[in-house]
């Protein structure tokens, strides 16, 4: 049994220690936010936060998580009660298929937590590890900016 703190809740999972955190979140904890995209740390679809850092959950073995707090997009709000960054994505309609979006939000969340008023170049640089195939980039940038302006106002 491995004990984890996920979205503020203590959970115990029965998983092989080498299992990437992604599969534990999706399969054991039935969370949908983190997505499988490549399993290689190249696309960011699986991005979650470990303490204050955005990480690729597909390349972090669950055994390495330890006491660090795991946060997924579910930890920011619900479809009915979205958190501020999620709300900004809704307001900007920043999704097409949306498959990349949960990862984008988590990486942006980590950015805003360490730098509440990033410039557009900062946002572009911070989101560079995450891919979007639908070309929603312009809206994602606007959404993150919208959340940041609000947060710092």
């Amino acid at each position: 049994m491995i004990t984890l703190k996920v979205n503020g809740r203590e959970v115990s999972v029965d998983a092989d220690p080498a299992t990437p955190l992604l599969y534990v979140l999706r399969d054991h904890l039935k969370l949908n936010g983190a997505k499988f995209g490549c399993g290689l740390g190249q696309c960011g679809a699986c991005t979650v936060m470990l303490d204050s850092e955005a990480v690729f959950s597909c390349v972090v073995p669950v055994s390495a998580v330890g006491k660090r707090a795991v946060k997924t997009v579910e930890g920011l709000g619900t479809p009915e009660n979205p958190g501020p960054l999620q709300q900004a994505f809704i307001e900007e309609q920043a999704a097409q298929c949306g498959y990349c979006i949960a990862g984008m939000i988590m990486r942006a969340q980590a950015l805003l937590e360490r730098s509440p008023s990033p410039t557009e170049d900062d946002i572009r640089a911070a989101l560079a590890p995450n891919l979007c195939r639908c070309g929603t980039h312009m809206r994602i940038l606007r959404a993150v900016k919208r959340a940041s302006d609000k947060g710092s106002a």
Partner: protein, 737 residues
């Protein structure tokens, strides 16, 4: 006035219809009624195939189209809500499901609004009219005196009837009429507005949104071990150790088709990896030489189809311009690898799939599994954006085959990244040649264009279209590839210029033989043909010493086309643009398929010759897609198309050696990342209320490529005719001068 008049007439007619309806057998009046019905009503003429209302007044809307991330759910709900006068939230939408919805073929070709949108709008308007007529009869007042809101019908005297009270019997099981009375444009409150998409909240907050998120009791996980290359044959496989690995339930082997099923996903992946390491394959060098790909393509036998020909006297001594353009194999490259869940229970298969065509997939699966069609139900569940025919159908076949070996357990198969990159059917490599003669004023007198291409659709319908169908021991023959006929076209989509050239000859040289497996990728041949034609227009402009915008307008008669060109030029500030070092501007225009949406683009780029880097600084688009249902949704589609096409154009190319596909991940097949996406994109829309929906999903692919090529040429004086304009290629070209 006219609208009101026709509305009255319509109500009189439908009133008659309702009376007619008390006949015991409603199907009796169905014969021969559906010939000229609008949109997909042609194939599914009954209103209750589209809209059902139960006694509680609950409205259910059915569409055979699928949500692919294009926002179709919201747009269709808007149309239905508007015409039914029911709040959008109260309508439940059922999308593509072979057990429930109309068969609308594929969700492709930017046709969803045209097909399903049109059908639903008519059906909704007619359902409302039927209910109003019913209410009029019931209340003993005239239909004209009734008003409709929030799913109920009100009389002047205050009496109200709910929709649910009016739907007794088979009242909606009636064939649609050719014409409907729609809510007048000025009175619309839902359609035509930028409503927020209904699917986005779940997508930003981790709701169940994708087939990948489906979890059924008893569900198991599976992975496929594909051959290392398309022609590889399996020599040996020792699965015994893998079968003993933790949580592994089964290794399934059928010819070259190998799958492993396990209780747990990660354990399944590990088992698949270890199985892959144990499989011995024999491979042969069967791929064309990548360095001479285009020569190899041109040498393959081709069927020639002359798709446009009009003779004109060639002006003596006119200037002649020729050019050849090339496009490599490119990928759909969905961010989420293809996924499906299948279950065999009581002799029936249920398959949850993100296929673009649940009905054709059902037919192919039935053939693959050797069961009757009725024994297979395909239900659409969203996937990651697909942009055409990717691995969605193939993975559904994988899941169905594995479910067959484990009845009673839902089997979830997701491809790994390398499966998707190596095995999805690519967008076809193509070559085109253009040749024009100008008259003394620089105007085009004679224009010739040839395009060489494989097919652009190997979509299912047959088991031989499924990867697993090719890999099982008793393999299925892939159906002979065929060109998609004009006016839509496949490899020749948009090959016929929309410009009014006096002499035109366009030949589609269709290559049946496929060195690499290919199928529909967003825009099909239009990406390449618009890239070629609109690059060529600029080459002609240069030869004529003209301005790109003026030159296009000079040759274009189509009024709506002219309008988007003018609009894009004006909003971009074409005539006042200031030249700066390293910067260039480009222009491009097309009407997708020559019959769908119009798009004109103006763009500015900055080019680093020494790095080969192209940064798009500004894009201004002007689009006309007919009547607009959701302006923001339309903009979202166009912005996305521009960014995606920019990615194809600036860096994408499938890599292979003589045996294998070698671009098997994002490092080997890079796509645009945030720092490189355009600095800004503006989309200006021309709304055409009352005009047919024209479809938008694919309008940007071709113009974007040409626009980049033209801006690049403007910035550097170098015309690049081979895609992609990747940094290494541009560096080489610039270094060679």
């Amino acid at each position: 006035m006219i609208a009101r008049e026709s509305r009255r007439r319509f109500l009189r007619e439908t009133g008659a219809l309702v009376a007619f309806f008390s006949l015991p057998c409603p199907r009796a009046q169905s014969q021969g009624a559906s010939k000229a019905l609008p949109g997909s009503l042609k194939g599914s003429p009954y209103l209750d195939a589209w809209i059902r209302i139960d006694r509680e007044g609950k409205v259910t809307l059915f569409t055979g189209k699928a949500e692919l991330g294009q926002g179709i759910k919201t747009a269709l709900l808007q149309l239905a809500a508007e015409e039914l006068a029911v709040p959008l939230e109260r309508i439940e939408l059922v999308t593509a499901d072979t057990a429930l919805t109309p068969n609308e073929g594929y969700t492709s070709g930017s046709r969803s609004m045209q097909d399903s949108g049109t059908a639903i709008r008519h059906a909704a308007a007619q359902v409302r009219a039927l209910l109003v007529a019913q209410a009029a009869q019931r209340l003993g007042v005239s239909a004209e005196s009734l008003s409709v809101s929030m799913g109920s019908i009100h009389a002047l005297d205050g009496r109200t009837l709910q929709y649910g009270e009016l739907v007794a019997g088979q009242v909606l099981h009636v064939q649609a009429e050719e014409r409907s009375a729609f809510v007048e444009p000025g009175k619309r409150v839902i359609a035509g507005k930028s409503l927020r998409r209904v699917d986005i909240p779940a997508k930003v907050a981790g709701g169940v949104a994708y087939v990948h998120d489906l979890r059924f009791p008893g569900m198991v996980h599976a992975r496929i071990v594909r051959p290392p290359s398309a022609s590889a044959t399996l020599v040996a496989l020792d699965a015994s150790e893998v079968e003993r690995m933790p949580t592994v339930l089964k290794v399934v082997r059928d010819g070259r088709f190998i799958g492993v099923i396990a209780e747990r996903e990660y354990e399944c992946i590990r088992a698949a990896r270890s199985l892959a390491a144990r499989a011995k394959w024999e491979e042969s060098a069967s791929l064309p030489p990548r360095a001479h790909l285009y020569d190899a393509l041109l040498r393959l036998p081709a069927e020639d189809h002359v798709i446009a020909e009009s003779a004109a006297a060639s002006p003596a001594g006119g200037k002649q311009v020729r050019a050849e353009y090339r496009r490599p194999y490119q990928m759909h490259a969905a961010i989420g690898p293809s996924c499906a869940v299948a279950e065999l229970k009581d002799g029936k298969y249920t398959v949850w799939t993100h296929s673009q065509g649940v009905y054709p997939l059902r037919d192919a699966l039935a053939e693959l599994l050797a069961v009757p069609k009725e024994a297979v139900r395909c239900i659409h569940a969203e996937g990651s954006g697909c942009y055409g025919h990717n691995g969605a159908d193939d993975v559904a076949a994988d899941a169905a085959l594995l479910a067959r070996s484990l009845p009673g357990r839902p089997v979830r198969v997701q491809w790994m990244r390398e499966d998707e990159h190596a095995w999805e059917p690519f967008g076809a490599a193509m070559v085109s040649r253009a040749n024009a003669v100008l008259d003394a004023s620089g105007t085009v007198a004679q224009f010739e264009y040839e395009v060489w291409s494989n097919t652009h659709s190997t979509r299912p319908g047959k088991a031989g279209n499924l990867l697993a169908g090719l890999h099982v021991a008793k393999s299925f023959e892939p159906p002979a590839p065929r060109p998609i006929p004009q006016p839509e076209g496949g490899g020749d989509r948009n090959a016929i210029p929309l410009y009014a050239f006096p002499g035109v000859r366009v030949v589609h040289r269709f290559i049946p033989q496929m060195p690499l497996r290919v199928s529909a990728l967003r825009g099909l041949g239009a990406y390449m043909n618009v890239f070629s034609l609109e690059s060529f227009m600029d080459e002609l402009t240069l030869a004529a010493g003209a301005d790109p915008v003026e030159y296009r307008l000079r040759h274009l008669r189509d009024a709506r086309g002219r309008e988007v060109i003018r609009l894009a030029a004006e909003k971009f500030g074409w005539s006042t643009w200031q030249r700066r070092p390293r910067a260039g501007r480009g222009f491009a225009f097309a009407r997708y398929k020559n019959l769908a949406g119009y798009l004109a683009l103006a763009m500015e780029v900055e080019v680093g010759r020494d790095t080969g880097a192209v940064q798009i600084s500004r894009v201004v688009a002007a689009a006309d897609s007919g009547e607009i249902v959701n302006p923001d949704g339309l903009r979202n589609q166009i912005e996305g198309g521009i960014v995606q096409s920019a990615s194809w154009t600036l860096s994408e190319e499938v890599a292979f050696d003589d045996t294998r596909i070698t671009s098997r991940d994002w490092a080997a097949y890079p796509i645009l990342r945030f720092p490189a996406v355009p600095r800004s994109i503006e989309v200006h829309l021309v709304d055409r209320p009352g005009q047919p929906f024209l479809g938008t999903g694919e309008v940007a692919q071709g113009p974007t490529a040409a626009c980049i090529a033209n801006a690049l040429a403007d910035a550097t004086g170098m015309r690049v005719r081979e895609l992609p304009f990747s940094p290494p290629r541009l560096r080489r070209l610039f270094a060679a001068g």
